[in-house]
Subunit: 338 residues, 2 copies
DNA sequence: CTGTTTCACGTAATCGATTACGCAAATTTC
DNA sequence: GAAATTTGCGTAATCGATTACGTGAAACAG
């Protein structure tokens, strides 16, 4: 096999036309079963692989879906992608995964590329820098947002109630007797983090506990930065008795910072993470976390996108998934000394 | 903008032919600078995005590269992909990331899809199930393997010396006084794990330490399985005084298993991981690990692939990267009581 | 002033599939 | 048994770009 085999090769060998071969391979009703068999047999024998460039050009559908996320190394994303691919793969769709690395310009650039590839649809999660959505506006393509979703309700959005999730997490900490809870928020301006902070505040207000704005700690998603920020804050605010972290990976650094500050978890300081990553049960102490169903959310995003592609009109534009607290060692209540 | 804009639209608006527009956009020498300016200006204004299906079909180059890895959630892979994308992105290439989830059939399926997309090249890492390479043989496309590479030296391979890396790791453990080292190998038949076991054995032989084959522990990459296997082994073999793990994530489960068995790290049992993931310094105790330059390896894979695509002949077919031991708390030598 | 290059662009074929339209033969309908 | 329908396939246009080849005008050479 020197050159790639095409439907013309198959047609010639079977004394048919390319049109017939194309229809046979697409299982068209206007081709007899016997011809289909012959075509399929020869296609298999010659190891024919259809040229998606050609079919996509003509049919304007190439069975490729773009996935645009901040970073595949984030647990939520790799897990959601697994869910997306499970649903989409079963329907014969391929995914093209693009990473923004939290940069707006890379988000725009990736978007242009996905347009130029003419993917059939797009599942996107906004970068930390994304404040407005011009580049998503007239995209001319089925689009579903997941996790980091915009406020704009013209889009289909798959997400959790971040405020409520944080509310529940902070409430749990407050109820176990904690009063000075640091919030490891991540980079400045991250929308989901702001929403969670609102939940943080609401839980405090309901518990009539005062809020210290200096316990809202920003940092970059860069190994070491969360650690140092928290260590510094612990030094400045020795009263801290709990830490709530935007994700479990950051919580690991928090555990280290607390330990190195000479305090212990959960006796002195409780720690609650977010996402319930697979390593969290094995940490020491095992990490309590707010769990969100990332795999299921990926599945739902894919299902909704398939709906859009097939032209169904969508009834609901926003799909809010439930979260729940996973209690582990890092938030065990302090035993009051008898 | 109701419909996607094409070079025909631009040509009509400027009273040119599509050919001229195409050449202008590709900065061809046979187009005057003034025409190029006009074409580029209008293209920008109309937000023209070239159709990669069309250009790819005609030119047989679509500036897309396939990346085929077992799982993007593995630290090595997401890190190597970052390196690949840094190099390839600068040259205008897009990547299509496919996951085999360690399954041979998914590897074959993904490969067919990448062929049908007619990607310009492929960077691949073999699945745990892959034993022979028929599906890679007559692929008709530039191909570079990374990390999980085949033995076949007709391929370009980017990897480490797994035997040597494990040798160094085990040697370090033996030199610090450990004698009964469990090897957390991962799933049965994983080539890199077998190579590392050879290094494990060589280090033992050179140190004239006996090898217990029952300390070679297999498991699935599924949360909990490594933990339970190790706990069981510790119970059966109480003499174990060190654990060497195929990666850091598994090592975290090992730390938990050791702890739950009532032993302490590093006093009773030392733990050494592999990959030096970004969370490893923050664990408790901080995790020693064999470090490999995954990002750099990704970069090199991309550079080699670009060379293949541009038709350069490659001098070396195998690029072996250096590894080194990162010593942290989990392998501190035991202090002999004075 | 004629012949040769060079410049800047047009003409048209091409990539490999899909699909609207057409049509003869086979089958069914009444 | 004539008309209507169905079956099974061919013809040719088409998707949007690239590119081999052609060409008129301007520039240049001798």
């Amino acid at each position: 096999m020197a050159q790639k085999v095409t439907i013309y090769d198959i047609a010639k060998a079977l004394d048919l036309t390319p049109a017939t071969v194309s229809r046979a391979l697409n299982d068209s009703y206007e081709i007899s079963e016997s011809t289909k068999e012959k075509v399929r047999a020869l296609a298999r024998q010659l190891n024919y692989q259809p040229n998606r460039m050609a079919s996509g050009l003509r049919s304007k559908r190439n069975k490729m879906i773009g996935i645009l996320v901040p970073n595949i190394a984030y647990h939520f994303n790799s897990s959601a992608i697994a869910g997306i691919e499970e649903v989409l793969g079963a329907q014969g769709y391929r995914t093209i995964i693009c990473q923004t690395h939290e940069k707006l310009d890379r988000e725009i650039e990736n978007l242009k590329d996905l347009v130029s590839i003419r993917v059939d649809g797009l599942i996107a999660s906004l970068s930390a820098e994304t404040l407005q959505l011009d580049h998503f506006q007239d995209l001319q393509m089925p689009l579903v947002f997941i996790d980091r979703v915009p406020i704009d309700d013209r889009f289909i959005r798959i997400h959790i109630d971040n405020e409520d999730a944080a509310y529940k997490g902070v409430q749990h900490l407050l109820q176990s007797g904690r009063k000075h809870i640091a919030w490891l928020a991540g980079p400045e301006g991250l929308d989901i983090a702001e929403r969670r902070y609102r939940g943080y505040c609401r839980a405090h207000q309901e518990a009539e506990t005062s809020i210290d704005p200096q316990l809202k700690i920003h940092f970059h998603f860069k190994p070491g930065d969360p650690y140092h920020r928290l260590r510094q804050t612990i030094q400045e605010k020795p009263a801290i008795d709990a830490v709530f972290s935007i994700n479990d990976r950051i919580a690991i650094e928090a555990l280290a910072a607390i330990r190195d500050a000479g305090k212990s978890v959960p006796q002195d300081i409780a720690v609650m993470g977010f996402n319930n990553e697979s390593i969290s049960p094995w940490l020491y102490p095992s990490l309590s976390s707010v769990s969100q169903p990332s795999f299921e959310m990926g599945r739902e995003a894919a299902l909704q996108l398939l709906g859009l592609i097939k032209g169904q009109k969508m009834q609901s534009r926003s799909f809010v998934f439930e979260t729940h607290i996973v209690e582990r060692g890092s938030t065990l209540p302090v035993l009051v000394k008898g």
